[in-house]
Amino acid sequence: MAEQVIKPDLEFVKGVMAAGGDSLKKCYQCATCSVVCKVTPDKNPFPRKEMVWAQWGLKEKFQGNPDVWLCHQCSDCTAYCPRGAKPGEVLGAIRKQSIKQYSAPGALVDMVNKKALLPLIFIFPAVLLAVLLSAAGTFGIPEGDIVFSKFAPIRFIQVVFTPALLFGLAVGAVGMKRFWDDMKKANKVYSGDFMTSLISTVKDIAGHNRFKKCNENADRFTSHFLVFYGFVAAAIATALGVLYIDIMGMESPFRLGYGTPVKIFGNLGAIGIIAGIILMMSNRFKHAEKLGGAGSYFDWLLITIIAVLGISGFLAQLSRIAGVATIAYPVYFIHLVFVLSLFIYLPFSKLAHMFYRGAAICFNKYSGRE
């Protein structure tokens, strides 16, 4: 056997343990996890090998490793782990390290997810938004009927939020490309039919097919499905807004009645997001004992952003209908702050999973390992 020199990266081990993988060292490599996992490929299955790599600090093994992202944290592994090593939680913590590696600058991942900086995470976009709104001369509670565009004009929203979203998407896309290249370097590609793999991936994600394989935590299918399609509906409503305003030249489609597609999609989206995120939170507490805890700070930051975003959006609408301006405008402001947070933190929060998990699922098909 060829001699192999192992260079453990202790910082990596500490990082994983700090991010919710503190049970890592309990693993004794029995491989129960790889067998009970229903989302792993049979060839070189996870998470047993990831557990030993992480224990030994073999950071380079995670370079271009699709497996930590193929994991959907069903936690079947954690439920059956004979040692309480919680492979599901450990892989979640490794994913955070993976985001740090690919979303540039990676230091932002730690900053965004640092408990001590929690108020700042939201104060920063709030102050930014307040300054910009003051510059636009609309910061304050307007007189008369409650119309949110009096507070934040549509052009303002477009000018501020579109670049914010594009920033988030661009950083994520660059990270995804780097991850893809690393995966190609680190793994054998047997198949290599990209388009077929991509179409199959889109189908998998649309149908949440991989979630359906979870046993112990089957509830996650419903909650993720609701939040996912909630955002899809909200995105459609936004796109329709763009269509009405910029293409059809209407002043504001949002003041049309509740039967219009914009309102229908917007409200369906809100309901999906709110119901899904509440279900997600309650599932976490319900399964906490058996499935290795209610989650890490990293998880809860994103859950909080989405929950506040959804609930504040819906409350803004309700208070507008109720005609309480002193509630409606502040709540709307909070809503905007959290939407902005979601966009700018997109590649640095847990939401970055949309890039890397998507890429990993596609690569798994592309490489012919599936």
């Binding site: 490599q29 029995c30 491989a31 067998v35 049979d42 299955p45 090998k49 782990c81 004979p82 040692r83």
Partner: protein, 419 residues
Amino acid sequence: MAENKTALVIGGGFSGLTAAVEIAEAGQDVVIVEKNPYLGGKVAQLNKYFWKLCPPVCGLEINFKRIKNNGQVRFYTLAEVQDIKGEEGNFDVTVKVNPRYVNDKCVACDACAQACPSYRSNEFNFGMDKTKAAYIPFNQAFPFTYVIDAKACSKDCGKACAAACKYDAIDLNMKPETINLKVGAIVMATGWDLYDATRMDILGFGKVQNVITNMMMERLSAPNGPTGGKIVRPSDGKEVKNIAFVQCAGSRDENHLPYCSYICCLASLKQSMYIREQYPDSKATIFYIDLRTPGLYEHRFLWKAKEDPNVTLTKGKVAGITEDPATKDVIVEVEDIFSGGKVKATFDMVVLAAGMVPGTKDSKIVKDVSYTPDGFVDASTAKKGIYAVGTLKSPADVVRSVQDATGVAMKSIQSLRRR
């Protein structure tokens, strides 16, 4: 000063028997209280045991002979200790003796069993066969006296047995008796039970017909077992030519038994030899996390197994067992760690190397001692004059249990003779 010069041994398995004869041979009286209708415990159920791989009855016979020759050991079968009062040198013990319905006149002629119309599941063979409700526990049982299982025996059945007996040995009016024993020292020797394999929902026991436990494998291989020693599978009696052993079935698992049960690795290696010797063309695979064979002898045993090309040792814990409905073959799911792949392998029969649960897990008759969360006796907390032996303190094999029993015998004698 000890008032009572008799020692009580609770449990008549190999540890208890050893403690009893060692104490008696030093000149003290001993009483054994055994819950089964026979002495010998788990060892009596084994096919072969370490280290000479001889039939365990030979070791048991030696102890029974020593009991007979010595004359200072009394024993109660079908008996359970119910209460213990007092202290070293002066214990007052209440024992319930359940009726055997057969007295000492029995000559084991088998006439009652032949006449008996009712059957019972044979727990000595882990339910793999049946006996009549009037039965002898096994062909070398000590005492060699029949028993009537009242639960399995309807009214008429008892009468049929009694009518068939020419020796006036059947007494259907026997009632449970409560007796009091005055003793000076108490040896806890209630041994171990096999972990309930149905509790591991992914290992298929109780659902997949051809999945058995390691203790069932001992009975299946034993000449006095349900198949006369022919290793065939339960579903269809087919010869077992391709067998798998699943190590750590419950042991070293926080969800079941958090500790290593110590004996299972060697037991599976031994059982792989049963099958290899019986069918020269057979194959055996042992799936393990770590093969734990501490000690020189044990290592040699492992090396011997490794030399056999038909024995495969695969690193990886089995975490899925299903049945092929057409053939009743057993499909085992495992990650073969050294080759790096998840595999599904098919076997004629699968043996779960289930672990040891101390007898004191569910039955804590002795109050003057602390128990670990897993039910083991914390020997350091035992009241003076009370000693635990063998597998009550930690999982152990027969050899180590016997060594421990000899040491405990010494401590008990001190309790009886302390001035």
